[in-house]
Chain length 418, copies 2
Amino acid sequence: MSQKKTDRREFLKRSAAVAGAVGLGAVKPALGQDTPVAPEPGAFIRGSDEMTAYGSRSRFVDSVRIPHGGRESPDSFGLDFHIATPLQDSVGEITPSSLHYMGTTRGSFVPDIDPDEHRLMVHGMVDNPIVFSMEDLKRMPSVTRNHFIECAGNRSRSSHTTIQQTHGMTSNAEWTGVLLSTVLKEAGVHADADWVVAEGVEEVKGASSIPMTKAMDDCLLCYGMNGEPVRPQQGFPLRLLAPGFEGIFNVKWLRRIKVVDEYYMTYNDFGHLTRDPVNAALGYQIGPKSVITYPSGSQQLPGAGFYEIGGLAWSGGGRVSRVEISTDGGRSWKDADIRGTAHPMAHTRFSYEWEWDGSECELQSRCIDEIGQIQPSRQQALDFWSTDGERATFVKGQDNSIQPWRIASDGSVHNAIS
Amino acid sequence: MSQKKTDRREFLKRSAAVAGAVGLGAVKPALGQDTPVAPEPGAFIRGSDEMTAYGSRSRFVDSVRIPHGGRESPDSFGLDFHIATPLQDSVGEITPSSLHYMGTTRGSFVPDIDPDEHRLMVHGMVDNPIVFSMEDLKRMPSVTRNHFIECAGNRSRSSHTTIQQTHGMTSNAEWTGVLLSTVLKEAGVHADADWVVAEGVEEVKGASSIPMTKAMDDCLLCYGMNGEPVRPQQGFPLRLLAPGFEGIFNVKWLRRIKVVDEYYMTYNDFGHLTRDPVNAALGYQIGPKSVITYPSGSQQLPGAGFYEIGGLAWSGGGRVSRVEISTDGGRSWKDADIRGTAHPMAHTRFSYEWEWDGSECELQSRCIDEIGQIQPSRQQALDFWSTDGERATFVKGQDNSIQPWRIASDGSVHNAIS
C-alpha cells in the first residue's frame, strides 16, 4: 500500500510536469491573478428551443453500438438484428438506453407500437383472465430495480479484438414496472399450473416458457427504463424482465402471458435445446461472470505506472459478493474493490489499483456470487461443453468463462483466449 | 388492507370488462387457438446502421423539458438558460440525461469543449499544485454514486399549474468520477486552508466557495453520468458534484479548484447573500423535500377507485428515512412505501396505495431524512422567511415546503398552494 501511494505520487508528479508544457495562449485571468490552464472553449452554443426539449451528447463523444459477431451490417444475414454495447467506454453501472445492447429473436425489424392501442392479455389456467391497457398497468403498485440482461450468445472468440465484440451483448438498466406475481395473483393461478409462456409482438412472437416459481418470484412487467418509457429496441411499450435469465426470456413488446401446465417448446429454444424440461429450466440462469473493461482489447496503456483496473461483474444467481483480479495470468488472485451498491442480478462495478512495471502480463477477473458460484476458467468451460453432449451438439450454450487480456510490453492490449 | 385488496380486485375486474370492448379486427392467432387482444403494430422499422449506432425513443413518447418559471423561451431574458425536467412523466429514480434539468449561472450559452484540450488546475494553499488532463483523471480511483441536484430557486408558486413548473429544477443521476478529497490529499492542503473555490468555463466562471470539510467529505469530480460522459448541458467534460448542496455549487465545465483561507464572495452568491460566512455556509444544504408526481397538477384521474400515489423524496441531509402521505390536506399522515434503495442525497421513489372515493380532497407528502429533519409545512416556511430578514430581502432562499395537490370531484388535479 505504501508502495502504491508512492507510485501514485509519482504519477501525479508526472501529470504536473506534463501540464507545465500546455500552451497558455488564449486563456484569461480569473479569480484574481491566477491563470487557469484550461483553454477557453472554441465556441459557446446558444440556448435554443431544440436544446431545451431533449438534450444530446457532446459532438466529441462518438461511442456507438456495432453489429454483433463481426457482421458488416446489423441485418446482413437478413434474419435478426443483434447489436453490441460499447463496454470499453462504459463508466458506472447503468448502460445508457441509447447504447443498450439489442437482439431480436428472428426478423430484423422493430415493431412501431402505439401504446394507447397496446394490450397485455393474461390467460390460460387462471380463474380470471384479464386484459390490461398500459394505463391499467401504470396504476398498479410498481417497483424499480437495477438488472442486467445478457444474450446467451455473448461469448469471446479468439478472432475478437475488443470487449465490445467479446462481451457487448449485455447491458444494465434501472427498470420500473409491476411484479408479474401481482398480476398472476389477481388472475388466480390454478394449482397445477407450473409454467407461464410469454409472447411478444415479433415475427416469431418471441415466446418463452418460464417456471412458475420464477414468475412468482421477481419477474417484472416493465414500462420504464432508466427513468423514461422503455425504448422501442428494448420492447416499448412493455417488456418482460426475468432477472438473471438468458436474454431471450426477457420478452420485448410483451402482449401475452399464458399460464400453462407444461413446458412449451417454441422457436426460442435453440439456445438450450433439450428433450428434458428439467434440464431446459436449469439452463436458463446466467452464470457468474465478469470482465475487465479497462484495460481491455485494442486499448493502449501510455506506459508503466499506476492504473485503476476497472470492470463489471454480474450473475444470474444473485448479488455479486466478490471479484478477484489476477495480473499474472491466473496464478495468483487478489480481491478487487466493489464500487457502489451490489444489486441482485445487476452489473456491479469493481476496481483494483495496479502498478504496471512495463513487462508483458495477463489480466483476468473472476466473479463470485452470493450463492457461492465461482466464474469458471476457460479450460473448465471447455471441459463442460465437451462432456455435455446434448447442449454441445446444437450450440455451446452460455460462456461465462474468465476473459484474459494480455498486456504487451508496448502497452497494447490483446484478447488472450485460445 | 383487506379493503384495499378488495378494491384492487374491483379495479382489475373493471379492466377486464373494459378490455372486452377492445376491437379485435387485425389480430392473428398465435400459440394455438387463443387470440391475443393487442393489435398487430401498424409498422415494423427495419434495422439500419443509424439505429445500430445510438438508439432513440419511441415517436409516441413526447416528454420534453420546458423553460423554467413560465418564460416563453429558454433565454427570453437574455441572461441565463434555465430548463425544467418533466417530473410528471418520471418513472423510477434516474432522470434520463436528455431530460436532466439545467441552469446556467449567467449567460444563455453552453461551452463547446474539446476534452483533449481541457484541464483541471488544483492550486492555491497546497504543497503541490497539479494540473490534470481528462485522461489523468480517468486513470485515478473512481466512485459511482446516485445523487440529486436541485436549483435553490426550485419553488412552487400559485401561478404554477404543473409539477414541471413547481419542482422541475431538480434531477437525479448516476454520477461517476474521482473524489475531490483524493485530489486534494495528493496536492497537500495547508492546515489553515478552510475553503475551496471551484471555477467553471462560464461567462462569469461559476465560482463558488465550499467549506473544506465538505470538499474532503463527499464532493466528486465527475466525468461520467448515467453510464456515459457527462452531457454538455451538465458540464462536459467535467463537473463538480457537491452532494446535497444547492445546484450552484455543482460547478459545470470545471477547470479550477483553488484552495483558500477565506470565503470568496462571488457572483454566485445571490442565492444566499449574507455578510456572515458562517451563515452563508449553513445555507448551502438542500432541506428535506418531497413531491407527489402522480397524481400531480393538471393530470386527470379517470374516476373513483384504486390508485398508486407515487412521488420522489430527497434531502441534502442524507438518506430519506421516511415519507408520509396525507390525503386530507395535512390533518392525518400515514407512512408511504420506500421503493428501491434510499441512497444518500438522492431522489428516492415512494408510493402509497390509495382508494379515492371520488370526493374533493388534498394530497400532500412529507419527507423525513436520516438526521431527523422534517419537511416543513408552507406556513412554517413562510414564518421562517418573514423572520430571516437578511435572506428575505434579496431572495426567499430555498423553498422545501410541502406541496399540496387538490383533487376536484371531477378528477382534475390542481396546485393548492396559496
